[in-house]
């Protein structure tokens, strides 16, 4: 089954189209990069997929169900751009609470803490952590309960390069296990890690296919150059 299918999705805010006729399909077991400058509609698209954004036109299905369906809620993990965690709880307390919602075990909490390298900070109040550490708590919560779909809004911003490397290989491992990942970024070099790409600009989708196909079509060697070429091409026609 296709993981996500969008058909002409349109979202308006204050009468202005934030997303205009966005159509694409994402297969399970892939890492898809949602790439676009700030303000291009990446977060709105992600919020639509996890079901907290009202859609004004088109259809959006996740695992064959309309986005936001009740039965999808136990299947997805969502990480917002600014860490959605309780700052007045410890790291462990944060995870323990969301573990109840995700039906995850205590053992899994400890495993995930090790994955995001926060084992040493687990009894620390979240407000005493650095921004990057808080972002990792937020990511750890999304990983609880092994969700089939992970929607991650700029999860690696401000992280140590080594840790970023580790997280990207974690994402690849998860995809290899059949999980679907949609990861947004405004950093083009992160796009090189994704096998599928969605390029978004001013609410319109410029590209939705594999990275290889994009490079081939634009005759470029990096996603950054390809993006530039697509934008220029779009303005000419």
């Amino acid at each position: 089954m296709t993981a996500i299918v969008a058909e002409k999705v349109t979202v308006r805010k204050a009468k202005k189209a934030v997303l205009q006729d966005v159509s694409f399909a994402i297969q399970p077991g892939t890492v898809t990069g949602l790439i676009g400058p700030s303000g291009s509609g990446k977060t709105t698209l992600m919020r639509s997929i996890v079901g907290v954004q009202k859609i004004h036109g088109g259809t959006l299905e996740v695992f064959g169900q309309p986005a936001g369906s009740k039965m999808l809620r136990s299947k997805l993990g969502y990480v917002t751009q600014s860490p959605a965690i309780y700052l007045d709880l410890t790291v462990r307390q944060n995870l323990a609470y969301f573990a109840v919602l995700a039906r995850a075990s205590n053992k899994q909490i400890d495993e995930i803490l090790a994955v995001v390298r926060l084992t040493d900070q687990k009894n620390q109040l979240a407000q005493t952590l650095s921004g990057g550490q808080q972002a990792r708590v937020s990511l750890a919560i999304a990983l609880l309960g092994d969700p089939d779909l992970l929607v991650l809004d700029e999860p690696t911003v401000g992280l140590d390069p080594l840790l970023r490397e580790e997280l990207w290989s974690l994402f690849a491992d998860l995809a290899a296990k059949g999980k679907t990942l949609l990861i947004s970024s405004h950093v083009m070099d992160e796009a090189e890690r994704c096998n599928q790409l969605l390029l978004l600009r001013e609410g319109r989708l410029l590209w939705s296919d594999s990275r290889e196909a994009l490079l081939k079509k634009t005759a470029t060697s990096s996603v950054g150059d390809a993006f530039l070429k697509m934008v220029k091409g779009g303005e000419k026609s």
Binding site: L87, L89, L101
Partner: protein, 246 residues
């Protein structure tokens, strides 16, 4: 069902954990009503009769106001911090969320009501005609009512500034026409009619009844049930007005 029960209790535990890291807030919840009642006692040092009349009613008002503010700010913080949106993408029921808050703040309210009424009864020797337990129960229900209404109106606040102003806008009018400043039957007719639509009117009437009558009157019981009914309605309405999508 079991799952939702577990989420509700996990939510209550989570809120209590949050508060346990904030001793000052907990101390304020417990001590502010006591402080206010002490000032009242001092103020009416020479007129015990007035104190005996006012204190039970205010035992209902202070926890109500306090819990209203605390809940509306806490839930607003949850909204602004993004954790509410995270919960709404998870399999959490809206009622689980509301009841979790009611249980956590309800436990605080029990301690608060017991502390404030013990102070009145045993330190200030407050003289009421009716049974003490009824007065404590009404005070407790008032705190729960404040919590439930705080949860309900915080859904309509977009910023902290708005949420804070809901207190004077929503609570003070109820207080002014609750029958404490002027008996209901002496008010302008329209105001009297309006007063009967507000739950605080019934809470204060119940406390007046228990202060004046040795036996629990039908009116006192009716008042208590109206307050309990308002708590239930506010919780259900609060759950209905929570929005998953925006």
């Amino acid at each position: 069902m079991m799952y939702h029960l577990r989420i509700t209790f996990a939510t209550a535990t989570r809120i209590l954990h949050q508060l346990s890291h904030d001793h000052r807030t907990v101390a304020l919840i417990f001590l502010v009503p006591c402080l206010l009642l002490s000032i009242l006692w001092w103020l009416f040092e020479d007129s015990r009769a007035t104190f005996d009349h006012l204190a039970p009613a205010l035992l209902g008002v202070f926890p109500f106001v306090l819990m209203f503010i605390i809940t509306s700010i806490t839930t607003l913080r949850e909204r602004i911090g993004g954790t509410m949106e995270r919960l709404m993408t998870a399999p959490m029921g809206k009622l689980d969320f509301m009841l979790g808050y009611m249980i956590a703040f309800g436990l605080l309210a029990i301690v608060q009501a017991l502390l404030a009424s013990s102070l009145l009864l045993y330190v200030f020797d407050l003289d009421i005609a009716g049974p003490d337990w009824f007065m404590v129960s009404v005070a407790l229900c008032d705190a729960l009512l404040g919590t439930a209404l705080g949860l309900l109106v915080s859904a309509f606040a977009r910023s902290e500034f708005q949420a804070v102003q809901f207190m004077p806008a929503f609570v003070l009018p109820q207080f002014l026409i609750s029958g404490l400043l002027m008996p209901l039957d002496k008010m302008p007719e329209l105001l009297e009619t309006i007063a009967y639509f507000f739950p605080l009117t019934y809470a204060i009437d119940a406390l007046n009844e228990v202060a004046l009558h040795a036996d629990l009157t039908d009116n006192a019981w009716r008042d208590l049930w109206v307050v309990v009914g308002c708590i239930v309605v506010a919780v259900l309405l609060g759950a209905l007005t929570l929005r998953r999508k925006s």
